[in-house]
């Protein structure tokens, strides 16, 4: 029998109170009349079939009633409703958007099958744990390993695509034919590369990305089988990859097979490949590392200069700094969620106090506690749902913006879709807050034995809620401080980085890239003719003071590292690395790099003249400290070179990193077809004329010199230098936006609390004024309340902020986590916010008319 009573618990309590007894009685009577096990079983089955659906329907009936009531109640308080929904939406939206991006970039697996078994393989040299291997290493490692199903390779392959007469520079990737099968991906149309397409002499084939296919080939399916021209060679399109496929990152728009020539395997220092391998099912990463250690040792016996091998999971591609930034972003959004929830709670408490009388009356009229609680829960849940829905819309709008923060070198498609798990989490937190703080008042009131709330002028019992609200405001101020300090420190770091001298004078310099196809420009004299003609004509343009070509511009290409050998110095390769570039004369003048000793290259540094070099000051200091470096000899690119000049150091690797010493070589002093990657392709032009005005003439000059050479990457040097700090700027803007939202919400919180306090103390204030208190005293009273609270919150916040700053020290570019100006500015902002938030309630208190206040209360 207890069983049936237990079953009735499925019904709402109010229903049970009304009808439970009768239902039980009916069941008892039927039970008494039942004979036999089968009949008994049928009776219970019918009971179940009766109670369960009807209980659901009764709950539904009550919900509908409550919803009608809720919508009326919320409609009568539009200000409160709007504020509560917006606050909830901010919390949910910001957190969801931030986490979606963080999750895709840091946590979610890559969009390949079984990605945990994909591994990248690097050479490791002392001081550089990840060095790209050469084709010879690839061949040897692939042959000698036993832990992987297969090992594939890929390399950058930017090519000139000629389509409809227009030459376009397109970024792509050269891959071994086995690479896509290793990744276990399928094409959208057509097929992948066959095993015989990546060998020397094979006919050219190409896979198009979805984007390239849509934009340049009209998205037509008949593109498969078509022939296109890349770098003036014919390639047959064999397939199109799906829309969400990116490899190795979202910039690669086509894939061609790597067709190694037998000569590629001779030079073990031609390091440019990226290797990707798939672990065998029965193997593991530690086992593979051990295996490759053995391989490395065996190779070391044949090639004494060989170094170790490093294995990294493919998914660990996010640099530590970016990882930290994304984590900080997620932390910031959590702070906003917390503030939003505390604000929401505060709003609900205030509202509940306003409704004390209403709830007391309803209780007096017989409304059960459960019914009241339920109805309030419905109201809070409605607010939470409304806020959540708006939050989703906010998240959808904001997520694409935040996706810009994910490093470009990740193989994920452009936009992070909204993460449903996080949406659920944020919504849950908001709902719990909303429901919790919405329901508490009902529990308090209906547990109130002598119906306090019904008394006229009842103001008692506000102590508890006031303390709670004060605590909430305290929390909001503290959290705002954390966000403000973090943003402030990042601003300081940004300024610091922006102050760093890149070593060049970036103003008034236009840059662009003309990648010469090596099939026609492999011979040095052919290149020289092109450069000489183009540079001569450009220098003759009005307003142009200098122009030059270089292998790569600083900050554009950060690698290009070579070993040098200097007599009298140990030959340890890790100690003797330089950043090497081939340049034409006038390079230093064009980029504004001062020459401190000796001379620039000129006509005397011809092809077969004595091999010359210009070195950076750090190079000279390192190898010939305190001595004249001019005339010294050292070995680079397997050739002895004489130092003819010394230039100031340039921050090749960027404003925040240490660069290797630089070595510059004359563009003509290199063997035919050697190191094609370093053939100068970046053109820099210093001119007083605006770039937009200069560009058409430059284009025309290049087109006349060779119409098939496309122009790409047109940028001013200023833009390049500014791009160094652009991701910091973006991060800062977003964090700053969070901090701003936080401080605004905290200000609203303080305002709300003080307004409430003043309302409750109107009588007291009136008495004080009547007894002779000056208005200034009243002002001090109210403001003092607010400032004391803010000060306490500030104190807590400062302590927490310090620890947060220590956690993100790596992002601060050397700024101290305890940076005094930042903390000082934060304190000032919080003080200002407090004063503004307190202003209206304080003014109201000051303008209290003691007579009317006391009359209203009598």
């Amino acid at each position: 029998m207890n069983l049936y009573a237990a079953l009735l618990c499925l019904f709402p309590k109010s229903f049970r109170i009304e009808y439970g007894e009768e239902m039980e009685r009916m069941f008892i009577e039927r039970l008494r009349a039942t004979r036999g096990a089968i009949a008994l079983a049928r009776l219970w089955f019918e009971a179940l079939a009766d109670v369960i659906p009807n209980a659901v329907l009764v709950h539904w009936d009550i919900l509908r009633q409550d919803m009608r009531f809720t919508l009326r109640a919320l409609g009568r308080a539009p200000g409160f409703t709007f504020t509560a929904i917006v606050v909830a939406a901010l919390g949910v939206g910001a957190t969801t958007a931030a986490f979606s991006v963080t999750d895709r970039a840091l946590i979610r697996p890559l969009p390949f099958n079984d990605p945990d078994r994909l591994v990248k393989i690097f050479q490791s040299e002392p001081g550089y744990s990840r060095f790209e291997p050469s084709p010879a290493h690839y061949r040897d490692w692939r042959r000698m390993q036993s832990s992987f199903e297969d090992v594939g390779a890929h390399a950058n392959a930017s090519m000139n695509l000629v389509s409809e007469g227009e030459a376009l520079r397109v970024l792509g990737t050269a891959v071994t034919a086995n690479l896509f099968p290793i990744l276990d991906v399928r094409p959208l149309h057509g097929r992948l590369f066959g095993p015989d397409e990546d060998i020397e002499g094979a006919a050219g084939t190409v896979l198009l990305s979805y984007g390239l296919w849509q934009n340049n080939f009209g998205g037509r399916e008949d593109v498969v089988g078509r022939t296109i021209r890349l770098d003036e060679e014919s390639y047959t399109v064999v397939g199109v990859m799906p829309a969400n496929f990116t490899f190795p990152d979202r910039t690669s728009r086509f894939w061609v097979p790597i067709r190694f020539k037998s000569t590629d395997f001779e030079d073990r220092s031609n390091q440019y490949l990226h290797l990707v391998a798939r672990l065998k099912r029965e193997s593991s990463l530690p086992a593979a590392r051990a295996d490759m250690g053995v391989v490395s040792a065996r190779l070391g016996a044949e090639h004494p200069k060989e170094n170790g091998i490093t294995l990294v999971e493919l998914k660990d591609q996010v640099p530590a700094q970016a990882r930290l930034m994304l984590t900080a972003l997620f932390g910031a959004s959590l702070c906003v969620l917390l503030i939003a929830c505390t604000n929401l709670a505060s709003l609900l408490i205030a509202r509940s106090l306003q409704r004390r009388r209403e709830l007391a009356v309803r209780t007096a009229l017989g409304a059960g506690r459960e019914r009241l609680v339920r109805q309030l829960m419905t109201e809070s849940a409605t607010l939470a749902v409304g806020g959540g829905a708006l939050g989703i819309a906010l998240a959808a709008m904001v997520t694409p913006l935040l996706s810009q923060l994910a490093p470009a070198n990740l193989p994920i498609a452009n936009m992070a879709p909204i993460d449903l798990r996080v949406l659920g989490f944020a919504s849950l937190i908001t709902a719990i807050t909303g429901i919790g703080f919405g329901v508490l008042p009902a529990l308090r009131v209906s547990g109130d034995g002598n119906l306090e709330g019904l008394r006229e002028g009842a103001r008692g019992g506000v102590g508890g809620p006031k303390r709670l609200r004060s605590a909430l405001v305290l929390a909001q101020v503290a959290i705002s401080v954390i966000l403000l300090v973090s943003s402030g420190l990042l601003i300081r770091a940004l300024w610091k980085v922006q102050q760093v001298d890149p070593g060049i004078k970036a103003a008034d310099v236009l840059t662009l890239r003309t990648s010469l196809p090596m099939n026609r420009y492999g011979i040095v004299t052919a290149r020289a003719q092109f450069y000489d003609r183009v540079l001569a004509e450009i220098r003759a343009l009005p307003g142009v003071s200098s122009a030059a070509y270089a292998s790569f511009l600083p900050l554009v290409m950060r690698g290009g590292i070579w070993d040098v050998k200097v007599q009298g110095f140990p030959q340890d390769p890790s100690e003797n690395k330089v950043s090497m570039r081939f340049i034409t004369p006038e390079y230093f003048a064009t980029l504004g790099v001062p020459l401190t000793r000796g001379r620039d290259f000129d006509a005397q540094d011809a092809r077969f003249a004595p091999a010359a070099a210009v070195v950076s000051e750090s190079f000279a200091r390192k190898y010939w400290p305190g001595q004249d470096p001019i005339g010294r000899i050292f070995d680079v690119t397997f050739q002895d070179r004489i130092v003819v000049g010394v230039a100031k150091d340039v921050r090749v690797r960027g404003l925040e990193r240490q660069s290797e010493p630089q070595v510059y070589l004359p563009y003509q002093q290199v063997a035919d077809r050697a190191v094609p990657f370093y053939a100068p392709k970046d053109l820099a032009i210093r001119s007083t004329v605006d770039s937009a005005a200069l560009l058409p003439s430059v284009r025309e000059i290049i087109r006349r010199a060779d119409p098939l050479v496309p122009i790409s990457d047109v940028r001013t040097m200023t833009a390049i230098v500014e791009a160094e700090t652009s991701s910091r700027s973006t991060q800062l803007r977003i964090l700053g936006a969070f901090a701003l939202i936080a401080i605004l919400l905290a200000g609203i919180g303080i305002h709300g609390l003080l307004a409430f306090t003043v309302s409750n103390r109107l009588q007291e204030i009136g008495v004080r004024i009547a007894l002779g208190a000056a208005r200034a005293d009243i002002l001090r009273l109210v403001l003092g309340d607010g400032l004391r609270l803010a000060a306490l919150g500030m104190l807590l916040g400062v302590i927490a902020a310090y620890f947060a700053s220590v956690g993100m020290e790596a992002l601060l570019a050397g700024i101290s986590p305890a940076d005094a100006p930042t903390f000082g500015a934060t304190a000032a902002l919080v003080g200002l916010m407090t004063i503004f938030g307190s202003l209206i309630p304080a003014l109201r208190a000051v303008r209290v008319n003691p007579i009317s206040v006391m009359r209203a209360d009598s």
Binding site: E22, R25, F27
Partner: protein
């Protein structure tokens, strides 16, 4: 009470259980169990209201004002103090009549189409 507007339209069509419960309390007030018995007898056993369905319907009908709980009790020898008695309201009567009219109309259409049995 006399000024209330008795508009049955929002309640039509009536759910079957509601209709039968209204019929059961139309002539005399009954408690829950008695309603179940009355409906069973009237329909010849075709409709057996379960307790859950009965009381859910009663709750809704009370809220909608189709029935009301009796304040006066029947004669002591017939009364079970623990039981609650319900009777039809004026609105309930109006709604029942409207529903009966609606059903009659439907049967009339069926007859005209030759698909309903003629009354014997």
């Amino acid at each position: 009470m006399t000024n209330e507007i008795l508009d049955p339209a929002p309640f039509l069509p009536l759910p079957l259980a509601t209709f039968h419960i209204l019929l059961a309390v139309a002539e005399e007030s009954r408690h829950g169990y008695a309603i179940i018995q009355d409906v069973e007898v009237r329909t010849g056993g075709a409709l057996r209201l379960s307790a859950g369905t009965l009381y859910r319907s009663i709750q809704r009908m009370l809220e909608d004002g189709l029935i009301e709980e009796m304040r006066e009790r029947p004669a002591p020898e017939l009364d079970d103090e623990r039981r609650r008695y319900y009777r039809i309201t004026r609105l309930g009567s109006a709604v029942t009549r409207a529903e009966a009219r609606r059903l009659t109309e439907l049967v009339g259409f069926a007859r005209a189409a030759g698909l309903a049995p003629e009354t014997t």
